[in-house]
């Protein structure tokens, strides 16, 4: 396979680079524009360089309840993340053998993924309305978001368990481990790196969710709702500053998760490195 690069490689590589520019270009642009001078507008040219619009973020009048919205989104993201990880692992374990209704449940999970978000939003909003419950981001919003994050988590867990070598479990059981001990000391440590992936999905999908929280978050907005509200009435680069801040925050979260995965991988490699050496 290590022959000389063909012409198609260079063409495809070029295509890939253009695609990456297409993905990142616009976000980088607003990243630059958020450093506009105080008199700058929403487009180039830059009218000086300043941190003016970032300072504006800290003033209530300029951006509304941005920090409150950020705090709510962050807490909600953590709630959704923890729930998604736990329920996905449980679901993944359960789905390893057929049980009555497992097929139906599987397709229910798939439909949860393909049903337009606005329908969930509308439906949950209607239920709370009819039952005269108050919609709140931590109850109705939380549940509505789970219908989006749980399918992702479960599908990842299905993929993980499809590749899981059950010889490890059998070995544990042969040594007298109980069901719970097998899960706790054998299965969970092996699948732990994938759980970080599930957690990343759970948090970011919740943190960025818009449609499902639209009618279910109540009077206090989550961050995406707050930002969308701003697009209609804020016409200064403070919008970009906000975009840059939240994107940097997202990137930090992603980086953290990737680092944890990396550290896990390194540690596993070290711990297992002497396993076969004695025999060799």
């Amino acid at each position: 396979m290590m022959e000389k690069r063909s012409q198609s490689f260079y063409f495809l590589a070029f295509f890939f680079i253009v695609f990456v520019l297409f993905l990142y270009g616009p976000v980088l642009t607003i990243g630059i524009l958020s450093f506009q001078g105080p008199k700058g507008g929403l487009t180039f040219p830059m009218n000086g360089v300043s941190l003016h619009w970032f300072y504006d973020l800290f003033e209530e009048q300029a951006v509304g309840d941005f920090w409150g919205a950020f705090r709510r989104s962050f807490i909600l993201g953590l709630m959704v993340m923890v729930t998604t990880v736990i329920l996905s692992v449980m679901g993944g374990l359960a789905f390893r053998n057929k049980f009555n209704g497992s097929n139906f449940l599987f397709y229910l999970v798939i439909s949860s993924l393909v049903i337009p978000s606005i329908l969930i939003s509308l439906g949950v909003g209607l239920i709370f309305n009819i039952l005269d419950f108050e919609v709140h981001w931590s109850t109705s919003g939380f549940g509505a978001q789970l219908t989006w994050t749980l399918p992702f988590g479960l599908l990842i867990m299905f993929a993980v368990f499809n590749r899981f070598d059950s010889a490890y479990e059998e070995a544990a059981r042969d040594l007298g481990a109980s069901w719970w001990q097998t899960i706790r000391y054998v299965v969970l440590p092996i699948i732990a790196p994938s759980l970080i992936g599930v957690a990343l999905f759970g948090f970011t999908l919740s943190y960025d969710e818009f449609a499902r929280t639209l009618l279910t978050s109540g009077s206090r907005n989550t961050l995406p709702l707050e930002i969308f509200g701003m697009t209609t009435n804020v016409t200064t680069p403070v919008l970009y500053a906000l975009g840059t801040m939240t994107t940097i925050f997202s990137l930090l979260i992603i980086l953290t998760f990737l680092l944890i995965t990396y550290v896990f991988g390194q540690r596993n490699r070290r711990q297992t490195s002497d396993a076969g050496k004695a025999i060799l």
Partner: protein, 311 residues
């Protein structure tokens, strides 16, 4: 995966203790069933309350009546009658389909090309993972921000217009770049191309490389390998990506609203407008029709792919 393996532990334990009993495998199977049900119970409850119940409620409310400030129980077909007789409905569905088809086409083309490059032209696994991550990172950032970020690019005085003016390709700034159907499709492709890259890349990575070498040795050209081996074997991935892209675009209301500057319609926008006007029963009827259309489309696509095999 062998489902039996999962409960073999129970069987083994029981085998020792109840070795003389008859019908023990039934008991074991029942215990495994119980355990599975116990494990999925929270999931079932959440889906029951936040997925099934909302959809049932939408179904019921679609027959209810409403006035300017309230909606109340009734059993009328007016909401559906309006959906099916309004000339807006058909036009909106056609428009939504147009967005869907265009977005799907560009996503498949881009997704396949990018995945193909990553899977077959990048040679080390390390680089494959790194470049794949590079493609997926934007997926974990905010869609709203990613939409907003097109403003300085496409606006009247935006980068695209400035460059085109500078190069002398156009003489006056193009007005249709931002707040137009073009912008809507562009944003859709920008947001959802990843949903195509990921599953296609996933299936491509499973293609046995020796198949390609064999074809190569048998004298197949690169193009023949592509059309006779890679594309057929990648179909499941393309289908899964298509399910994502099509359902996301069909149900969208926010991208269309924002990128068209409120000028373009979509089915999702009709629903969200009716919600804003508190006409819940009307929105519910529209939602039922949209749901039927989406489920119909997904059901067709699911005939071509067994999702459980692809995970």
């Amino acid at each position: 995966m062998d489902p039996e393996q999962f409960c073999s532990g129970f069987r083994y334990k029981r085998d020792r203790t109840s070795i003389m009993k008859t019908g023990k495998s039934e008991v074991v199977a029942k215990a495994a069933q119980k355990l599975s049900w116990f494990l999925v119970l929270p999931l079932v409850l959440i889906l029951a309350f936040f997925l099934i119940l909302p959809l049932v409620t939408i179904g019921i409310v679609s027959f209810w009546d409403y006035n300017e400030w309230n909606f109340f129980p009734a059993f009328i077909f007016d909401n559906y009658h309006y959906v099916f007789t309004s000339h807006v409905t058909l036009a909106t569905y056609l428009k939504t389909l147009k967005f869907t088809v265009l977005t799907w086409f560009f996503c498949v083309t881009i997704g396949f090309t990018v995945a193909y490059f990553l899977a077959f032209h990048v040679r080390s696994l390390k680089w494959q993972i790194a470049l794949f991550l590079l493609c997926t990172i934007p997926f974990w950032t905010s869609n709203i921000i990613r939409m907003i970020s097109w403003i300085p690019f496409l606006g009247r005085n935006g980068i695209a217009n400035s460059i085109l003016l500078e190069m002398g390709i156009i003489e006056a700034p193009l007005e249709w770049l931002l707040f137009s159907d073009f912008a809507v499709v562009l944003a859709f492709v920008h947001l959802y191309a990843l949903f195509m890259v990921v599953p296609i890349f996933n299936t491509m990575m499973r293609i046995d490389k020796s198949l390609i070498e064999a074809a190569h040795d048998a004298g197949a050209s690169g193009f023949q390998i592509l059309t006779n081996i890679i594309i057929p074997l990648t179909k499941p991935g393309i289908m899964i990506g298509s399910i994502f892209v099509i359902t996301l675009v069909m149900g969208d209301f926010i991208t269309v609203r924002f990128m068209s500057g409120g000028q373009s319609a979509s089915v999702g926008r009709i629903i969200s407008n009716e919600i804003a006007l508190l006409q819940y029963p009307a929105a519910a009827a529209n939602a039922v029709v949209l749901l039927s259309v989406v489920i119909f489309m997904v059901a067709i696509m699911l005939r071509f792919v067994d999702i459980r095999k692809e995970l």
